[in-house]
Every structure is written in structure tokens, then in C-alpha cells.
Amino acid sequence: MLFAKQAPKESLVVRGARVLDPVEGIDAVMDVRVDDGMIAALGANLDANSHKVIEAGGLLLAPAFVDPHVHLRTPGREDEETIASGTAAAAAGGYCAILAMPNTDPVVDSAATLGSLVESARTEAEVPVGFLAAITKGQAGSELAELGELADAGAAGFSDDGVPIASPGLMRRALQYGSVTGRRVALHCEETTLSRGGQMHEGAVSAELGFTGYPSVAESLMVERDLALAAYEGQPLHLLHLSAWESVQALRRAREAGIAATAEVTPHHLCRTDEAVRSLDPNLKMNPPLRSADDRAALIAGLQDGVITAIATDHAPHARHEKEVPFEAAPFGVTGLETAFSAIYTQLVEPGLVPLETILERMSAGPARAYGLDAPRIAVGAPANLVLLDLKASWRVTEDGFRSRSVNSWLLGETVKGRVRATVAAGRLAYSA
């Protein structure tokens, strides 16, 4: 389900880092040796043999990150992102695996389109990438795509991300077929008759600025519907980019009732509120929108207590000229692969809102499990998927610092703390700085 370019596996020793793997229960200063891409030894003063040595005193070594929600814009908008540029950005952000959404041009709704992406990934992907395929043909919401064939062709899951499935009957059919494909169905929850024309969260800020509001209930109503269908069919589902307090409460109740639902949240929804939109900066426009302080608090609480198990960037590159327009004319979406950890470390970990261990788990094992992927872990015999982090380094987010082809970051101009120093993805040193 994951594809990357063929490259020789690395042999290296990471010397003297604080090794922190919350899932394996490791938190100690030690060396990690990788032989031919596999973790071969953990311990003090490991023999380097002839391996490359990374001196990592004062740094943190953790399981590398998994991003379950990336837009690679390929095919169709290679000016905004390609498999090569998007996976290079992922490597720079500490990711060892990403999943790409199928809302491309053409939509990934046939084995032929999926096959050509897989071929490209095998020659250009810097880190392993999986491709979600569309649930419905053309993401048009009327007919199921050939989900079985797409699964056989390597689809990592199914989603009509960006477009909600309006018909409950069709949604039910998609969930039913999940038992055939064995792949997760991932849902963008939005009741468009409530969100139509919406530019930002509906509340005091939208009332004052004059923007048409996109109310929380437009999301939570659809979350409730899809959870009810999942319960009825006894099928798992994954909820994309939750933004609203009501959605978190609905998910919490469903999980307590035993429904196999997982959910993700983005760094921007964890770090910002609708107050930020007062700047009218189009790089703060995304779907779902930034919501109120209460919504943000509920997302943080949900992440903290494990109702929300994954952090996803929803990395959505847009051409500069498409974002350099009035807020209302700008497309939805912001980039995030290269800033996710730093943003969250700065805004949630440093102020003491969420422990570092929780963040590391929600950025790695959590999203991997949501899609049935092997979780990155630091254990002898496991493939090397490692991120080396400098928690003391501050840096300024600037347009010229990105490997992504697009610069529509919601953090431009800001100084953040915590920097990725190296990424090992599937046994290969994919990034070092």
C-alpha cells in the first residue's frame, strides 16, 4: 500500500540522542544502530563498525511521523505539488510515510490512474507514499468507484475528501463494501446546505467581518449521520480533519459505544481560532474553517484523552497567484508538512497543554493504525523509521525555506521552536540538516 523510490538501505548509528518511543515505552539516552535499513541494536556505546555516525547529543530521536492526509496535486496541478516535491517536504517535516488524497484531475477513481501514480512514486517518492482512491466515480457522489479493483491495485483507503457524500444511502453502500476491500473509508463531513457560501466559522467574528458563516453544525450533523451508519453496518470509518466541539462529543459517545471510528485533527485547528481570520490573510482560509476557542479546546482535549488518535496536516498546496487575491476569492487550504511538528511543539507542548509523548504518538502510531499501516517503532528488528528532533532550535518560517512547490503556509513569518534534523524513512536517510 506504500510506494517509494528504490534506493539502497542505510547503515548508520545515531549516537547519544534521547530516544523516546511512547508506544514501546522507551525514554533513555542511548545509541541506535541501523543495519541495512533495519534497527539492529539499541544501547550505550554501540560499535559503529563502518556505519555512518550521526552525533545526536542533546537531540531527541523518535519514531518518524505518518501524515494520513496530504494533497500531492498530481495528476493535474504539478505546478502546485508533485510526488517528488511533496514527499521531499514530508521528509523535511519528519515524516516516514504519507497518504495522498484522490481529489486530483483526473480524480483517482480507476485502477489505471492509480497505477500511474504508483509507477511515479516508485521512481520519485522520497518517503513511502500511499494513495487513497475515490469512494465515488469522479467524486460526484452518485456511483461507487470500483473499490475492489482499486484495493487490489494498491489503494491505501478510500475518500471523497473535499466533497462530502450527500446521500445517506450511498454512504451506507460504501461502508458495507468496506468489508470486501478491507480498506478504511475516510470521510469529509460537511452538510453543504448549511455551509454553502461559507468562508469562515460562523460566530461573532464572521458576524463582524461580514463573511458568510460555515457553522459547526454543518460538520457535526454529518459526523453524527456517518457514525450512525457505521454503527448500523458494524464497519469502521475514519473522520477527516475534525474542527468542532460537537463533532468531538459525537465521536466520544460513538467510541464509548464501541463503534470503530477514528479521527484526525490538523495542526492549524489545534493552534489557531477564528480570531486569526481578522487579518483577512488568505493563508488562514481552509475547509473546515478555524473555529472558536471552545472548539479548539475540545480538539486539544480530544487529542489528549485519545478520542482523536491522529494529527494530519491536510497539506493543501495552492499556486501563489491563486492565494494572492481577496480572502473571499481564495481557494480553501494551507500547507503544513514542513511545519506540523514545530507548530504543535511551540503552541501545545511548550505551553504545557499536551505532553510531548502524546504528540509523538498522535503523529506516528495513531495515524498509522487508523489506516491499518505498521506503526513506526524503535525496536530491534523493526524497519528504521526515525525522526531526529532539536527541541531547542528556533526558526522563522519563510517562503524560501520550503521544499514544497507551494508557500501557502498559515505560519509564514512566524518564529517556531523545534526543528527536524534528520528523517529516516523505510531505512533510508531521506532528510538531514
Binding site: S206, A207, T212
Partner: protein, 331 residues
């Protein structure tokens, strides 16, 4: 060639103007509004003279960019600039390179190359004036951006109220109608609150934006609430924004029956305002519009002098010296 080079800097006043732009009421203080109204009053006196043109902004360039239809705002900005002897240029979306798909940014940069002192912009999208301000060196005046702000309308309305009542503080203003789609309602409410007035928004539930009370005003769906106000400010029903199937109100007929401002709903002596253009017989009864207590014509007159004040304030700076300047001979 023997040309005389006059440096731009030589033509500038020694003190920099206090505000670069006039984009949102949120950006200004009560002092700013007081100063602008005082300047406007000076200009009103100057317009009573036989020759109405002042040399104050001679050699300055004011570009009007109008991406939406407008009669009173565009004409009053144009006349305001001319009365102050500035050169003016008016660009309308129709018939310009906007028709050929040019982006706002590129159009603004193109016009910015003429080195305008002020760009006045009206645009259907929120945030357009901020974009123009980012990509040009001109002072930017917002002549209406989508449903967001129309600060010069708010200023002329304040001026009209002040002229009528002699004060704004502690007055009660009811703003009636389609608040949701109204940039006028937003900027006026903010301006009135800044000046210490009380504001009640009145309209159908779907046309009162959720959360609007956070601005510091009250809101109600009960039209009877207007009877308590000193001023009833009637908003235009923006029929062009009432897209099919939105069902903001069941019908215009029902809107008029429930929320139309009629003589029966007003107390004698209550002052009525409307930003124009009016839909007579929809939001406002013709008898109300034509009554002596309507300040609608005074608003139009105030539009000219307050826009002169805005241009003057941005380019010459505050406070306004009196007299503002001697009239020039040729209009």
C-alpha cells in the same frame, strides 16, 4: 534638457499623515472620527462660496477603482477629489482589463505604476482593499468591500446625525433590515458605538448574523423596537444577494408586511435615514422616504464633504487648519 526636477518629498508636508489608509472603522479611533467630521464641516463652509474649488490637493492623483456598480459613492469621491483640485481617474471593471481576466493584484500594480496618491476601491470581495494596500504605495480608501465595511458611508452618516442632533453620544439608533448582507450596517454600528451611541439591529432572524451582539449592540426581530429610537436607519433589501432557495424570508411581500418602515411604525419626529438606493415600497414606505423627517438628502450632501475630509486627512494630515485654502479661479 533643462528640466526642473521637483522631488516628491519637497511636495510632502513635513509631518507624516497619521493614517495611511481608511479601510475599516475598526482601524480608527473616536478622535479620528471627530477630526474627520470637523474637517468636513470646514469644507461644507467652503462649498457655500460661489467658487467651490480649493487648491489643496493640486497635483495629487486619486484613482477610483469601482468593481461594483455605484452612483452616489463613485460620483461623490470623484467630485470630492475635483473640488480639492486633485487629478482623478476612474476605472470600472466593465470595459477594463478586468474583463480580460486580469487579477486585482495585477490591475493594482499597473495603476500603482502611475504613482497615485490615493486609490479608492469598491470591490465585491472582502479583503480587496487590504490586497491593494499591500501591493501599492498609495493610500487606500475602502469604498465598500463585499459585506465587510463601507467606512466613508459610516462617516457621512455620523456627520449627518451630528448635524441634526448636535451630538451622537447617548443617541439611540435602530438599524432595520438586511443586516446580514450589509457592509453599511457593520461599519455604521461600529462607528456609532465608538461615538457612544446605542445601537439596536432589527430584522428577520436569518438576516441578523449569529453572534453580532458581540460588537456591543442589541438585536431583535421585533419591528416595534424601532419606536424607541431617535434615528431609524433603514437598510436596503439586497435583492441581488437573495439567491434562489436561500429562504432568508418567505417572500419580499412578507418582509414588507413585517419589517417595512411605515408611518404607522414611527413616532412623530423620529428621524429616518437610508444609505440608498431605496427600494420604495419594500423596506421603506414612500411616505416615510419623502417626509420632512427623512435625512436622506442630507446624507448625500454629507457624502461629498466627508469624502473631501478623508482625502484631505490622508494626504495633508491632521488637524485641519482653518481656512483650508482660498478658492481657485477656474473650476
Amino acid at each position: 534638457m533643462g528640466e526642473i526636477h521637483v522631488m516628491r518629498e519637497d511636495l510632502r508636508p513635513p509631518d507624516p499623515p497619521p493614517r495611511r489608509h481608511f479601510i475599516s472603522i475598526k482601524d480608527v479611533t473616536r478622535d479620528d472620527l471627530e477630526r474627520l467630521m470637523a474637517t468636513a464641516r470646514t469644507f461644507e463652509r467652503s462649498l457655500e462660496r460661489e467658487v467651490k474649488k480649493l487648491p489643496t490637493l493640486k497635483g495629487r492623483l486619486v484613482i477610483n477603482m469601482f468593481y461594483e456598480s455605484s452612483t452616489r459613492t463613485s460620483s461623490s469621491f470623484e467630485l470630492a477629489a475635483k473640488r480639492l483640485s486633485a487629478d482623478t481617474m476612474s476605472i470600472k471593471a466593465a470595459g477594463s482589463s478586468v474583463d480580460k481576466g486580469e487579477s486585482l493584484k495585477d490591475t493594482a500594480i499597473t495603476l500603482g505604476a502611475y504613482d497615485p496618491d490615493v486609490i479608492v476601491i469598491r470591490h465585491p470581495q472582502i479583503g480587496a482593499p487590504q490586497l491593494v494596500a499591500r501591493v501599492t504605495d498609495a493610500h487606500v480608501v475602502n469604498a465598500g468591500d463585499g459585506k465587510h465595511q463601507h467606512p466613508t458611508q459610516a462617516l457621512l452618516d455620523l456627520y449627518t446625525i451630528r448635524e441634526e442632533f448636535g451630538r451622537i453620544e447617548a443617541l439611540h439608533v435602530a438599524v432595520v433590515g438586511d443586516v446580514l448582507h450589509s457592509r453599511v450596517a457593520r461599519s455604521l454600528t461600529q462607528a456609532l458605538l465608538l461615538m457612544g451611541a446605542r445601537v439596536t439591529l432589527v430584522g428577520p432572524p436569518a438576516l441578523l448574523p449569529r453572534g453580532i451582539e458581540a460588537m456591543g449592540c442589541e438585536s431583535t426581530t421585533d419591528i416595534a423596537a424601532i419606536a424607541a429610537a431617535d434615528v431609524v436607519y433603514v437598510l436596503r433589501m439586497q435583492r441581488e444577494r437573495m439567491e434562489e432557495g436561500a429562504n432568508f424570508v418567505p417572500s419580499l411581500r412578507e418582509y414588507t408586511a413585517r419589517w417595512g418602515v411605515t408611518p404607522a411604525r414611527l413616532r412623530p419626529g423620529q428621524k429616518v435615514m437610508h444609505p440608498g438606493p431605496m427600494n420604495r415600497g419594500v423596506e421603506i414606505d414612500p411616505r416615510v422616504a419623502d417626509d420632512a423627517d427623512a435625512l436622506i438628502e442630507a446624507q448625500v450632501r454629507a457624502g461629498l464633504v466627508t469624502r473631501m475630509a478623508v482625502l484631505y486627512d490622508l494626504l495633508v494630515g491632521a488637524p485641519a487648519p482653518v481656512p483650508v485654502g482660498e478658492p481657485v479661479g477656474v473650476a
